[in-house]
Amino acid sequence: MVYSKRNDGRKFEEMRKMEAKVGVVKSADGSAMFKIGDTIAIAAVRGPRDLHPKFMQNPQKGILRCNYNMMSFSVDERIRPGPSRRSREISLVTRNALLPAVNLDEFPNAVVDVFVEIQQADAGTRCAGICAASMALADAGIPMKDLICAISIGRVGGKVLVDLDKFEEDYEEGSTDMPVAMLPRKAEVSLLQLDGEIKPEEIDKALELAKKSCQEILEIQKKALKEKYQNE
């Protein structure tokens, strides 16, 4: 069956409502919250700080570490607390999504830690986490050549669309999820995963949609960052 109308009434190129706030974890060096639809991510940055064990240190530049975690009650079926194979993979791709934007040359031997917690989940958690982490890194004053924006592009019932929610992710007749992160200034892709089928000729369209959506996310991130520093 053709997916002719979205479950929540959105247009195919329309993201869910977004909200962002910077400075949500007082004791951290940088922090931010990013909400898209019913998905809420909190990110905190700690560092640059001393890295232990010593053998992991790099005397030429700092190291970025990422830790993504879903709170046990953020989904219907409780997740056992602690890392899982899924959360470790997402931690890795999150790090790779952020790394091209940050410059850690000033911090030899040190580590910059990024912690992402999903407080409430309704699909798109890794992308929301990356959006929050990007703001947290900027808030911490880590040198960055750009912010990082992330959104998932989907293919549901033959239709390419943006920002799947849980209903669309679980769509009975099959659903494709393609999370994309970009450095928006030059539309450089730093995260790309695909889970499901997509026609080769649709990839272009999907990336174009991601690019357009990331510009909208960027405006929300910029506004949240400026709100914190303008008010001061």
Binding site: S27, I40, V75
Partner: protein, 256 residues
């Protein structure tokens, strides 16, 4: 580095002042925000000054303990997230986070806060398991009292999922949990010869001994946990119980 030395704290305390200007038995401002995670059966965010904790309650069908075949079960876990403090590390739960969870658990269990018999579905076979998960968001001292308060708030706003004998339907909510008591915990610490309530992060670093005291609405003490490397006298404990009863009333009012 430490921003305050123990010598400085003791010096201020000898003048009857705390480092942040509070009275010795005064707690920080409390804020409770309910339903912060919609897929949880119940959830709450508690802020105690700058200390912040999120607790969620999930429910599952499980088997009862062999010694209580007609009672539901409670499991409390805590994650002291490295997001919330430079002193917490990633990895398996630390001793501190296990203690945090167990002391919250004790207050709920020993005050009989939940009527566990009402959580029995089929005697000896199927009971509701109440899973309470604590996540620290910002550690500015006294996570224990914030965690207990958040757990109670989450239990209070929780809605039971439905169960048809086969499967739990998390979308179809039934009534509230059988919550019959509202225990709260108040932790006091001792620095040299002074007793303080609701400690800040700076004070916590330099404590000699601490005592967490859970009290009930009726003004009874239902759980305690002594911590820290120093010792307490009977006089100290008396003073701490008094402070916990007084401050417990303030915290319980926030729950209602």
């Amino acid at each position: 580095m430490n921003n305050v030395s123990k010598e400085y704290l003791v010096n201020s305390l000898s003048k009857g002042k705390r480092e942040d200007g509070r009275k010795l038995d005064e707690i920080r401002k409390v804020q409770i925000e309910n339903n912060v995670s919609k897929n949880a059966e119940g959830s709450a965010r508690v802020k105690l000054g700058d200390t912040e904790v999120i607790v969620g309650v999930k429910m599952e069908i499980g088997t009862p303990y062999p010694d209580n075949l007609d009672e539901g079960t409670i499991i409390v876990s805590a994650e002291m997230l490295p997001l919330s403090s430079p002193n917490f590390e990633s990895g398996p739960p630390s001793e501190e986070s296990i203690e945090l969870a167990r002391v919250v658990d004790r207050a709920i269990r020993e005050s009989d806060a939940l009527d566990l018999k009402k959580l029995c579905v089929e005697k000896g076979e199927k009971v509701w398991m109440v899973l309470i998960d604590i996540y620290t968001i910002n550690d500015a001292g006294n996570l224990q009292d914030a965690a207990t308060l958040a757990a109670l708030a989450a239990l209070k706003n929780a809605k039971m999922p439905s169960f048809d004998g086969e499967k739990v339907d998390y979308k179809k909510k039934k009534g509230s949990l059988p919550l019959v008591e509202l225990p709260v915990e108040c932790t006091s610490i001792k620095i040299k010869d002074k007793i303080l309530s609701d400690v800040s992060a700076d004070e916590y670093k330099h404590l000699d001994a601490r005592l967490t005291i859970a009290t009930t609405e009726k003004g009874e003490v239902c759980a305690m946990q002594k911590g820290g490397e120093g010792t307490l006298t009977a006089e100290d404990i008396k003073e701490m119980v008094k402070a916990s009863l007084k401050n417990g009333k303030i915290l319980r009012k926030e729950l209602k």
